[in-house]
Every structure is written in C-alpha cells, then in structure tokens.
Symmetry: D2
Subunit: 259 residues, 4 copies
Amino acid sequence: MAKSKYEYVKKFERNDSLLPNTWLVIRVDGRGFHKFSDKHGFVKPNDQKALELMNKCAENVMNDFRDIVLAYGQSDEYSFVLKKECSLYDRRETKIVSTIVSLFTSNYVFNWNKYFPDKELLYPPSFDGRVVQYPDDNNLRDYLSWRQTDCHINNLYNTCFWALVHSGKTETEAENVLRGTVSSEKNELLYSQFNINYNKLPEMYRKGSVIIRQEVEMNTINQKGLDVTRKKNIVTVSHEDIIRDEFWKKNNSKLGLKF
Amino acid sequence: MAKSKYEYVKKFERNDSLLPNTWLVIRVDGRGFHKFSDKHGFVKPNDQKALELMNKCAENVMNDFRDIVLAYGQSDEYSFVLKKECSLYDRRETKIVSTIVSLFTSNYVFNWNKYFPDKELLYPPSFDGRVVQYPDDNNLRDYLSWRQTDCHINNLYNTCFWALVHSGKTETEAENVLRGTVSSEKNELLYSQFNINYNKLPEMYRKGSVIIRQEVEMNTINQKGLDVTRKKNIVTVSHEDIIRDEFWKKNNSKLGLKF
Amino acid sequence: MAKSKYEYVKKFERNDSLLPNTWLVIRVDGRGFHKFSDKHGFVKPNDQKALELMNKCAENVMNDFRDIVLAYGQSDEYSFVLKKECSLYDRRETKIVSTIVSLFTSNYVFNWNKYFPDKELLYPPSFDGRVVQYPDDNNLRDYLSWRQTDCHINNLYNTCFWALVHSGKTETEAENVLRGTVSSEKNELLYSQFNINYNKLPEMYRKGSVIIRQEVEMNTINQKGLDVTRKKNIVTVSHEDIIRDEFWKKNNSKLGLKF
Amino acid sequence: MAKSKYEYVKKFERNDSLLPNTWLVIRVDGRGFHKFSDKHGFVKPNDQKALELMNKCAENVMNDFRDIVLAYGQSDEYSFVLKKECSLYDRRETKIVSTIVSLFTSNYVFNWNKYFPDKELLYPPSFDGRVVQYPDDNNLRDYLSWRQTDCHINNLYNTCFWALVHSGKTETEAENVLRGTVSSEKNELLYSQFNINYNKLPEMYRKGSVIIRQEVEMNTINQKGLDVTRKKNIVTVSHEDIIRDEFWKKNNSKLGLKF
C-alpha cells in the first residue's frame, strides 16, 4: 500500500538487538502484588493455588517459546532463560520482553478461575519485565542461585512472621521479634514456639519452582492402529535445589551448559 | 535481609533510561491477531465490540498512568503518548513498556466477557510493545498522523475487500480486483457496486479512536448536603481527525504541545 | 573479495545510531592535563598560548566537519555542537565521537610547535570524548551556559589561588584563604590585595572561547582578472557571553535555533 | 564549588557501561588513509616504516592501559583486546574508545619524525574507533582470525596489483587482470611474471603484527650493588599466525583464554 509522507517517523525507533551468543534472562515481576494478594485473600505466608497459577502461566509461556530452556519462579516473580543461540525476534530487547510479559499476564487472568473457582478476580493484575544478558554459564547459574537464595531467605522470614501474627502478635510486634535474627534462630523459633519443622514444609514454598523440558515416552496409536511408544519433550515443574551441583549434573547437557 | 554472594549478578542489568525532555510513545500491537480474530469470529472488516474492548483497555491504562496525555488506537494496536517531562520509573525503557503492555493485556482478558458475553475466550491473547522517542512536537504529531493515515488506508482497502468477498468473490479474486487501485477508485467501487458511501461509515472505523483527558463538570453533593458542581478530568474517547489542525488547535495547551 | 567463515563476528557490533532531530554535543576533555600542564610549564592560572592552541584545534575540527555549528572551549575542554539534522556517519555514536576526538588530538600535537616553538612536547597528550543529546533548543543553550558558568567559577577561583601562591603563600594556605568565599569576596580580595580588577582580565580567560561560522566578504580576483567581492563562511573565535540573550539574538537564525 | 542552575543538563548523558565479563575489542581505523598514504608517498604495497609507526603507537597504548592483553594490527588498523574482567572507566563505552583512539592518534603524530625523519607530516591524520563485545573465547579468536584473514587477502591482492602497476600496467589494467582470480592464481602470477615467492615476503606484510606481554628476565643492579635478575612483563611485537592453534597453545593461559 501507498507510503505516506509521515513514515519518516519510523526512523526514530532504536535498534535494540541484544548481544549474540549470550544467555538472556527475562524476569517477570508482579506489580503491586502486596495489595493484590491482600484484596484477593491469599493465604499467608504461601498460597498454594496462587503459586500453582504462576507455574501454569510459566508453563504456557515455555510451550509458546521453544527458545526458553528453563524457568524459575517464586512468590510473584518468574525468570525465563533463553538459550544463547536464541534468535527470537532478532533478539530485539523490547519485543522479547514485552511479548513474554504480555503472554504471562494473559495466562494469569485467563486461568484465574481454574485455580480460584470460588474467588472473583476483582481487577486486572499486571507484571513488569526486564532483560539481563549473561555471557557465561557460571554467571547464569549464579543468577538462578541468587533467586533461589532470595526465595529461601524471604520464605523463612515470612513463615516466622505469619506464625507470630497468626498466634496473636501485631505485625509490628512480629517484626520486632525477628529483627536481627539469623537463619538458625528463625528455625529454632518455628520449632520451639510453633512446632514447625521448617525443612518439612512443602518444597514449593522453600525452593520455588523450576521448569525444564523433559523427554518422556508416550504410548499412542499410530496410523496403522498399532500401539507405539513415542518420545516427546514436555515441560515439567519440580522444586529442586538449583544451587547445588546435583541438578546441573543431571541437566547440563540437556540445557546446553558447560560446567 | 542478608545479602548473598550471588548478588553481583545484578550488575549485568543495563541502565536503559530514555532521554529526558522527549515525548515517549509506547505502541502496543496484537500478536497473531489475524488468527485470533478468525478463531473468535470477529465481524469483518470491523468488529465494533472488539474495537470497543480495545478502547476500554486503553482507557484503563490511561487511568492508571497519569503521565499518558493521549492515546490513539486502530485495529489491534494502541499508541500511548507519555508527556515529555514524564519521570515514570526513572524513564526506564523496559520497565515502562513491559508494565503498559501487561496492563493492557490484563484488561483485554479481564473485560472480554463484558464485550462478548456470548463468546468464550478460547485462548489467552497477547500483545507486544515498543518505545519510540520523539524530541519535537512536530515529530510526535507526524507519528500520530502516520497511524491515522495507516488506519484510513487499511480500512478503505478492507472495506472493499470484504464487500467483494461477502458478495461471493474468493479472497484471491478480491485481491486481484483491488490491486493497483487508488483511493478514488476504491470509493467509486464501494458506491457503484455496493451502494456504500464510505464517508458515511462509522468514524471509529475510518478514523480510529483518540483518547484524551477532558475537564468535565460533575454535579455532586458536598459534605453539607448541598448540590455543588465540581470539575474533574476524565478520559474521553472520540474519533476525530488528528491529522488536520482543528484537533490540535482545540487541545494543544491541554496536551502541552506548541505548534 | 572473498568472504571468510569468520565474518559472522561482525554481527556482534551494536547499532549505536543516535536519536534523529536532536542536538548532539561532543565534549572533548584533556586526560591528565593537570600533570601535562605542570610538565610543560604552562603559565598559571591561564596560559594564553595553550588556550590558543586549543582554539586552533577546534577551528580545524569545525573546518573538517560542516555539521558543527558552534564550538565552546575553556581550560582543557572543548564542546562541539552538531546541528539537529546532522546525518554524519548515520549518527553512529562511537564513530562520531572517536573521529572528532582523534582529529582534535592530532591537531594538538601537529600544531604544538607553532604555539610553543621553544618548548619540546615531552610525551603524547590525549583526550577523552563523550556525546550528549539535547532534544530542545533551551536544553542546548543551558548546556552551553553550564560550561561558561563553570569557566567563570573556576577562573575566578584559580586567579585568586595563583595570586596568593605567587605572592608567597603555600598552596594549602591559599586553599584555606579561599574556602567558603563567595564571588564578591574573591573579586574584593583580588582588588584589595593584588590590585587586580577581575573584569579587566582578558575575556578569553573569563568567558572561554566561542567559535561559529560568520559570513565575510572577501576581495578576490575573478577569472577575467577583475576585482570582485565574494561571500564566504569562515569560522571565527570570540569570547562573548553566551549566557545572556544578546549573543543568541544575533546568531539564532544562523545557528538554526528558535528562542 | 557552587552548583549552577544549569547542571541539570548532565542528566542527558547516557549511561553506556558495557556488559561485564565480556571481551572488549577496540578497533582503531585510519580515516582517509588512502589519500594520506598517497600524499606522504608511502611505498606500495607495503611501507615498512608506516607499519612500524603503527606498531609503535599500539605498543604505547598497551603500556598505558594494562587491561589490554593483546593487540593485532595490519594496514591502517589496530585492534585492542581488553580482558573480560576489565573495569577501566567502569566499562563506559565512549570513554574507553575515545581515550584509546586519542592516545593512538597522539602517538602517531608524536612519533612520525622518528620513523620518517626526512618526510614532513603535511596535515594531521585521524582515526575512528569502535567497540565490539565478545562473550565467548571462541568468538574473540574468530574475530582475530577474521582480521588476519583480511590482512592475507588484501596483501596478496595488493602485492599482485602493485607488481603489475610497477611493471607498466595502468591501475585499470591491473584490476582487470586480477578480477576473478583465486589465491593460487595470484601466487602463480607473482612467481611466473615477477619471480616473487609470496611466502618469502616479510611476515609483517603477510600476517600483520601481534602484540602481547611477555615475561622477560632483565639483568639489573640491586640496592646493594649486586647483579640480580628480575622478571618483567614487556610488550613484544611478532608476526605470528594467530589463526592456527599453535599461537594459542603457547599463550592461552597468559591471556586468560580457555580453549
């Protein structure tokens, strides 16, 4: 169709292609989720259904974008790792981040009712996104360790905080009790005062969720009507430790990492 | 809370603050909306309800972000103009674009049922976003003229195309009829063959939608129980021509533009 | 010539084109010039020859790059203003800044002997460069006012400092005398103790140097051997006040500025 | 000193820090060196003195910036490799590239007379610079292979071209002779027509120049007046093949590369 004299304005768009051969991490974060979780009565410190909804959104994002090799989520955030060779949208930064954030958000609203059938979504939630480039496998792994450490630190704190609050303390009192305590003291507090063995709490709360593609064998019927077994890659959620070596030894080659 | 040894990975984040004192345009675009509109049986060439849903999303984005002074939408896209002085999120590019795209998307899914009560949303739609900086008022106005010209060109073409298809031609035949025709020929075709006066079609289809904040007087009752009139800025949708001077003469000072 | 299998590495180059229709300022700064001026025995607080050499370098840079409309220099720095419409090297940032810094540096070493015929250049001096984009005429003018204000503040201080040192004080004593003094006190100190009327000092020291292109009439002899007058644009150095309106009223249209 | 109301203009400077943990290559290129070499009567196809001057400039740049681990030069270009961990100037792109280009240029003019004592420098030469980031050791090595391959291809062509021109052909005739020829044909042409064994030509012409830091033992006299041997890193120029493995096997650990 005819070009208009106004088309010169396209030249003001910046070429924002990211560096080739570099891991790309897209992190999606809930916007104003403190208020959102209050308004929607999320269970504290962890709402299982809310976390499962987050996982569902991440799975669907991974199913849409084959270049995502791993996703890690905790609380109201999810990180997506795009492989180094990824050429999605010519590696244009805002195109990639906006599309992934949009698809994640869309899934959140779309699937709300499946996870909260009795709870009306009161207003549309939103997320922001950012992109970080990691040139080296070790940097990428440290990024993921950082997020899982963050999950652990926050969850231990929140478990104590809400145990105190549910036992009758005010939020300010609970904060005062916890100020300056180290991990071992928080574990002890949970055990002695509330009979909670922190390490027995659900792994999803303590470790967050890791999604990778696993090869599975599926029984199916072929065109001739015979039973056959076919291999397929499907995204699978677990709550493993991704700080220690074990996870990486198992999955390195699959993920294209060299350690 | 304690810092972990992994926190160095934050240093890999790029500072992507945009240039100060420059108009920012965020354009949100439907991803795969050709298929999406087919699957959901949108009326061709224009689905009034689908356009009204887009407008609703844009209104809600404007109500959330006060720095947006104007929005313009057509088809499956919407452009948001942030004022030059905007300091939203320190003008960080990916933060701004991801948040706006996310909120727009969230509203789309959230409000679907209000506009399509009898039509189930089959899968979660998504949008991408981009940011363009315009240093000069004239560049900004030319950008908006470009989008409205695009609306006109596409809509005239699509109106002809679907008239031909609805009259029994195949899509390929319709394309062949229209190839190489200029605007006047398309107008003539609509009038002579289908008795359609293009200029009498709804303005929303021909011009798209413009949203600005208008000061309105609202009657209310004050604390003493008396009727009072108060002024309030509310976002209002119109379908005006934003290429010609008239719109700008009326709204320049309000929008902070100098022509 | 044949392409090699290694050429893919070119794709790692970033497209760093600057925003169109925006003033570009390239500022060149001496690297380690405190030491450089000591080693080469520059007169303190101002070495006329050293400043004239800086001006010469800037003139030659302006003669080479026609897109530079104005240059402003003081001390060991020079700022070059490229017009908004400039399409030099497709507005690629590092290409522009590296070339201008290189040409400036080259001129400095090349012309050293003309300004210091009796002083050997002991080692190769160097400069760094940066690029700043200004979307608006007023931002650009404020940038230039900032540099000239900086020139004034530093020069007044340095004039006092070196007067005190030359009169026998140590550098530490001179600093102590000046600590916390305002401009009027410094002026008074110069006048009462050293009989220096600051405002009578050479303008180049107090105001720095401004270079613009001026149209001049040149008498020449044409091909028929007749005396003729031709107009030519030549770069001219002055030491005017560029903070107040007068300079801009005189030169706005020439420079393409709108105030 | 007092801040002025104009200082806000500093906020328009972009933070252009490069990605951490990534190889940085700064390539310096002669600007208009075809003309420059003509005007200064450089010997064709290779002027030994001009190449040695380039090497001298690169050595001095390396001596100034300890973060440069390797430099490779050919014709009128030089590439400097900064180690991954380099934190020079907080990895700010324009600061790094402008300073290196400036220092290189300054050395070129400063040292001209040492290499061309009988040849006056007619005008100030200049260079441009660019920065490329390489996340991976193999990408970096491929970059260097690309430049050395370029050296070989250009030098073989130029050797033939100038042999033909020196033998009486016009430049156009020489181009016609060489059009479409492959390497083996060019080698054959040199040997059969000009009795030149290309592989016997100086390595500097065929391979370019590589500069790295080598540990050398230096005999010196210590404070007690005794002869002692001390180890020192000094920059050394060679003309080795950097495409094949041998060079890298020898120097990997020194350069911090993993192959």
